[in-house]
Amino acid sequence: MKKYIGKRLFWALVALIGLSIFIFYFGRIIPGDPIRMMVSPQTPEHVVEELRQSLALDRPIYTQYFIWMRNVFQGELGFSVYSRRSVTVDVQQYLPRSLELITYAALIQITGSFLLGIFAGSNIDKWQDHLTRLFSYIGVSVPAFVFAIIFLLVFSHNLGWFPSGGALSEGVSEPSRITGFIALDALLQGQFFTIGDFIHHATLPAIALAIPGMAQVARMIRSGMITINQKEYISMARGYGLPERIVRFKYLLRPSIIPGVTVLGMQIAMMLGNAFLVEMVFGWPGFSRFAINAMMRSDLNTIVATVLIIGIMFAIINIVVDTLVAYIDPRIRYSGS
């Protein structure tokens, strides 16, 4: 297993370096001069050129890449022409917000998709199954931001059950920064009201983010259960008179969830990129909203940092998912190594 994980880590690193070169190059051919977009329109040419030199944007692209790479190893992701400060500072400020939201959404997604999938798969062609399928169709076909807008208008505006945006209520101070994660910092400092307030704010955006993936994975688990249920070894297990609980959980469920786990991993990794519109609708001060706004301004360093962070998330989740799948199905591990 160690060799298997080591191999996965090595290829993830190769992929990330390749990704950084690719995005560095393409980030720089996007139309829109970042310096011109940063300064006022009548800024003299010599000032524009000085700024370009300060940020090394006048150098050949490969030199820029090596300067950037050197800085990355020193923990410096470059200057953002959008926020006008170090991208590292922006990442430190906004990434924890998005990761908190995604973690909450992932918990909802994992729990919901498994429960719904098993629920439907155990009641094929009954009303429970039809209901879950209806939910899945809607969940898969409607984008997360539409759920976000509906939730905002219904549960926040009309019913007033949830706040209309932000991560904390007005007047509720953020806990002192220890990890940058509000809920965790509040927990460490015993500020339980802050935790409750934070969860209250995060619930609607988290559910909106979770639904599309939840719907897709629930469908996959349901289908997996139907397919596996028709295998001979299941009939044999039943024929041997094994208790239904053991048949379902040990022989039916385990192989049924493998495709679901893989897709779930991808869905969670994709949330960071997909969270933009949901963060926008709920005014969630997260990384996705910041990153997209920066991209619209041709903020090269933020573009590269964002893609790399999303890439790293994909790599980590891929490794976790592959390891998990290998654990669930040992055949994959053997063939992989």
Binding site: P31, G32, P41, S54, D197, M296
Partner: protein, 553 residues
């Protein structure tokens, strides 16, 4: 059957758990103090609160409320502000300002002439934001601090518009900035050897303004509280806190406004959305001018727009009235090429839709009749930016109207960055760029210079590429003229010359519209003709905006 029930039970438990945990925060925070009045305004982001680097709308609003300029813009020009009085030498090269002696910075430091000089030096050295108004003309070596409350600026050439330009010289706290300046990093300014507080002023303010920032989340909001030692007058019910929020998403603004968590909506929402928000929540609607206009900037060096008759034809096919009625009801028909309200703006008999006239002009064109017989060879690209979707309607309207006389105008969408890139080069500039441009200071000279002087051709504020030496010389002459009356006469002359060349379709004089709460009194938006200074950012002046206390609403 038992198992199904179990799954169902787990599902119900899961839903209840989420609901319980989520609703656990439903208690109002105890510090939502009813005695504190808030003025929360939405803005398109980003907002740069450093007066030496920012210059866009939300940044200038921040400057208005967190800083003080040397002089303040009015409907008629400028009025004393930090400078109580001033005089100018006979050659208009030396301007001496006598400063108030009762002004304190948020840090508690007393404001002196040293700070005013430093503010100018910092702006010019950094070269960004509004530096272009001063950097080419000021002689910092000859400028001096005369005494604690007198400062003298020496220019390297006469400049009549120096005084109105000073509405963009925001005074910063030298001591506070130098204490927090960073050495090293991407920006090191000489001879200072540090970043002149560039990094510090991203999240902090060092001003004397009526509000001081106490919470800054750069990508999301700036919260300011009333500065207790503010020297200036405030309205009786001026808000205790002024808050700038990054907004622009209609559903969220609607929700916040309906819940009275937003006093003023942001600027770039569609007109119908703003109207609906105000209508559904018993809000008020208001609009104010800021010295800006929407221009269809015609490239005078690109065929077929290099022919004045084609330009005249286009200026006479556009349906100005419908554009106002259907797309921008808050705005008004233009009276000249420079928005009325700016000092020295002239009125002209502006073109209105008249197909007969347009046809007549077109027939005089060197491209006629080929231009209507082979329209595919004479495609005219009307470019707009996706950042402002309403401009697409304008481009499509122009294309439809032009078709009536046989002209082939095609609407073309650009990303903002791509449009900026295109407009920096005479060869890549589109035939027509549809863009709003506003004045930096409350005089026609600001817009005439940025819109039509050839030194500013390579910018998104100009697509005409007039490159007309006579006009350049006249503009320069006007900008250097120290006598206001004489300067305005020169403005008139140059506007006539520009108008005769038909380089632009002046679509409307821009009014910015907002929905705001019933309990808010906003003089600039409710009575713009009296209160709104024609310069960006000054109408969001929280000094004069009143917010009723909670118990009086």
């Amino acid at each position: 059957m038992m198992l199904e029930k179990k799954y169902m039970a787990i599902l119900i438990f899961f839903v209840l758990l989420i609901s319980t945990v989520a609703l656990s925060g439903c208690v109002d925070p105890d510090d939502d103090d009813d005695d504190v009045t808030l003025l929360r305004m939405g803005f398109a982001w980003p907002t740069d609160i450093d007066p030496a680097t920012g210059s866009d709308k939300s940044s200038t609003v921040a400057f208005t409320n967190f800083y003080d300029p040397l002089v303040f813009p009015t409907r008629d020009g400028v009025k004393p502000w930090i400078a109580e009085d001033w005089d100018v030498s006979a050659d208009a090269m030396t301007w001496t300002f006598y400063l108030r002696d009762d002004v304190t910075f948020h840090s508690g430091n007393e404001m002196t002439a040293e700070d005013v000089m430093f503010s100018m030096e910092r702006l010019v050295t950094m070269g960004e934001g509004f530096a272009h108004l001063f950097a080419p003309y000021i002689d910092l070596d000859e400028s001096e601090v005369v005494d604690d409350h007198t400062v003298s600026f020496t220019l390297n050439e006469p400049r009549g518009v120096f005084l109105p330009s000073l509405v963009r010289l925001y005074i910063v706290d030298k001591e506070d900035i130098m204490d927090n300046a960073e050495e090293g990093g991407d920006f090191v300014y000489q001879p200072w050897g540090n970043d002149l507080g560039r990094n510090y002023l991203i999240e902090n303010t060092a001003g004397t303004g009526p509000y001081e920032v106490y919470e800054a989340v750069v990508e999301d909001h700036f919260y300011g509280r009333r500065f207790e030692d503010y020297w200036g007058q405030m309205a009786d019910n001026a808000a205790d806190e002024f808050r700038m929020l990054a907004l622009g998403e209609a559903a969220r603004e609607r929700t916040l406004f309906g819940d009275q968590q937003l006093e003023v909506t942001s600027e770039w929402l569609e007109h119908h959305t703003v109207e609906d928000i105000a209508g559904s929540h018993n809000g008020k609607l208001g609009a104010y001018p800021e010295g800006g206009a929407l221009y269809g900037m015609m490239h005078t060096q690109k065929a077929p727009l290099d022919c004045i008759y084609v330009r005249m034809a286009l200026a006479h096919v556009f349906d100005y009235e419908s554009q106002i009625d259907d797309i921008f009801p808050e705005s008004v028909l233009p009276e000249g090429i420079i928005p009325a309200g700016l000092g020295g703006a002239s009125s002209f008999d502006m073109p209105r839709q008249d197909f007969e006239k347009a046809q007549g002009y077109l027939e005089q064109s060197q491209y006629y009749p080929d231009i209507v017989e082979n329209p595919e060879d004479y495609e005219i690209e009307a470019s707009w930016t996706g950042a402002v979707p309403a401009t697409e309607h304008v481009a499509l309207m122009l294309a439809g109207d032009a078709e009536e006389i046989g002209l082939n105008v095609r609407s073309n969408r650009y990303d903002w960055g791509a449009l900026i890139d295109a407009m920096y080069d005479v060869d890549t500039s589109p035939h027509i760029g549809i863009v709003w441009v506003s004045a930096d200071y409350p005089e026609a000279g600001s817009l005439i210079n940025s819109r039509y002087h050839s030194r500013n051709s390579a910018s998104w504020q100009q697509n005409e590429w007039l490159d007309n030496e006579e006009i350049d010389n006249l503009i320069d002459e006007a900008l250097t003229e120290p006598d206001t009356e004489a300067r305005f006469a020169l403005y008139e002359e140059v506007q006539e010359k520009i108008f005769d060349l038909y380089p632009s379709i002046v679509m409307h004089t821009q009014y910015s519209q907002h929905a705001f709460q019933q309990y808010v009194t906003w003089p600039h938006a409710e009575n713009p003709e009296e209160y709104a200074p024609p310069a960006g950012g000054f109408s969001h002046d929280a000094r004069l905006i009143e917010v009723l206390p909670h118990d009086e609403r």
